[in-house]
Amino acid sequence: MGFNEGTSFAKGLRYDDGTRSLAPSVAEKTADGSTLQPQTPFNPDGSTPQELQNFGQDLSGVWDVKPKTIGANFLLLGVMVKGSWQ
């Protein structure tokens, strides 16, 4: 077993490059703290079936685990300096 294709280590220190970010359409819809819920007579502000279909398709991406060779774990020590003046 290895990592799936969506978890690339190509970024080195791996600040996420946005690959794993929430889909923009969903992020925009929920930006004010609201949640994705279907439109009903009791919840007229909810999302329509077409909107939910679009959100669902935007959210779904990589799910499978595929064998892949990965590099070793590593620890990188940055600057370690101690200076003193008297």
């Binding site: 077993m1 290895g2 990592f3 799936n4 969506g6 978890t7 280590f9 220190l13 791996r14 600040y15 996420d16 690959t19 794993r20 970010s21 929430l22 969903v26 929920t30 004010d32 703290g33 609201s34 949640t35 994705l36 819920q37 279907p38 009791f42 919840n43 502000d45 909810g46 999302s47 079936p49 939910l52 279909q53 959100f55 669902g56 398709q57 959210l59 779904s60 991406g61 990589v62 799910w63 499978d64 685990v65 990965i70 590099g71 774990n73 590593f74 620890l75 990188l76 020590l77 940055g78 600057v79 370690m80 300096v81 101690k82 200076g83 003193s84 003046w85 008297q86």
Partner: protein, 294 residues
């Protein structure tokens, strides 16, 4: 509950740490220092566990894909000062500013259940799948100062006057969003569709339709909160020494604590803020005596 699972896991961790310390001293009486620390950890993990649980008739296979980052940045500036011409007055101070972050974007959990013929199908249970996004940020800013004035008298009597304060302000913002695909149409319950071994062949635009699966937000009411704490405490302390035989220490610590947490209650497709706060002042006196037996 009895469970017997085989777990296969691949995990890769990358860490970046940095530390910078500078110090300046004037004679033996004045010292200034600064410390800067940066820690970052990234963990990429894939895990598959398969086996038996007595809560189910057949075996289950759970898969999780997860990427987590933790980061801490701390900056500290301080000083120690001794003023000999002011009766050896001593002042120590330090300022600390820290920010910690944790992110867990696009964690995917899903489940396949064993069929009677030994094959596996995408589960129809409520916990069959979930995508979650988590973020947390902690900020901590604090000031501290301690002042000490020792007084010596000729008759073997010594007094030390101590005072100081700590001001600490902490903020936390935490949010998790969860999403689940539920079957809403015939394709979502079609055994041939569910029997496909790759979930990418199921949860794709072909079946994410009104005839198949529809996304729902499954975020819990406890998944998002903000918290704040501001603590101001100051103290005065008297330390008396009688002929190196008896030592009496007494003081008073005063604490003002202002704290609140804001959670959110889901109402329809919106969320309503719920705030709980504590504002309290405590006065904490203390006295102790020590007798030195020669």
């Amino acid at each position: 509950m009895t469970q017997d699972f085989d777990l296969q896991r691949t995990l890769r961790e990358v860490q970046l740490n940095g530390y910078l310390a500078l110090e300046a001293q004037y004679k033996d009486n004045h010292r200034f220092f600064t410390n800067t620390m940066f820690l970052r950890q990234a963990i990429d993990e894939a895990r598959v566990q398969q086996g038996f649980t007595d809560a189910e008739v057949n075996d289950v296979r759970r898969t999780q894909l997860k990427f987590i980052t933790n980061q801490l940045f701390t900056q500290q500036v301080g000083g120690d000062h001794l003023f000999e011409n002011l009766n050896n007055l001593k002042i120590d101070w330090v300022y600390t500013n820290s920010t910690a972050n944790r992110t867990e974007p696009n964690t995917r959990d899903y489940r396949y259940d064993e069929n009677d013929d030994g094959s596996y199908s995408f589960s129809r249970r409520a916990d069959s799948n979930q995508i979650s996004y988590g973020e947390l940020e902690d900020k901590d800013v604090s000031w501290r100062m301690d002042v000490k004035l020792p007084l010596e008298f000729d008759n073997g009597f010594g007094v030390s006057l101590n005072s100081g304060f700590i001001h600490q302000e902490k903020n936390r913002e935490s949010a998790i969003q969860r999403f689940t695909y539920i079957p809403v149409g015939p394709d979502g319950r079609d055994s041939e569709v569910l029997a496909q071994s790759s979930l990418e062949d199921i949860l794709n635009p072909t079946y994410i339709t009104p005839n198949g699966f529809q996304v729902r937000e499954s975020t819990r009411s406890t998944d998002r909160y903000n918290a704040h704490q501001e603590l101001l405490s100051y103290y005065g302390q008297l330390d008396m020494n009688f002929f190196d035989a008896v030592r009496v220490t007494g003081g008073l610590r005063w604490e003002e604590n202002d704290q609140f947490v804001e959670t959110f209650k889901a109402t329809g497709n919106s969320s309503e803020s719920v705030v709980t706060s504590v504002k309290k002042t405590d006065m904490l006196p203390a006295v102790s005596a020590t007798w030195f037996i020669n």
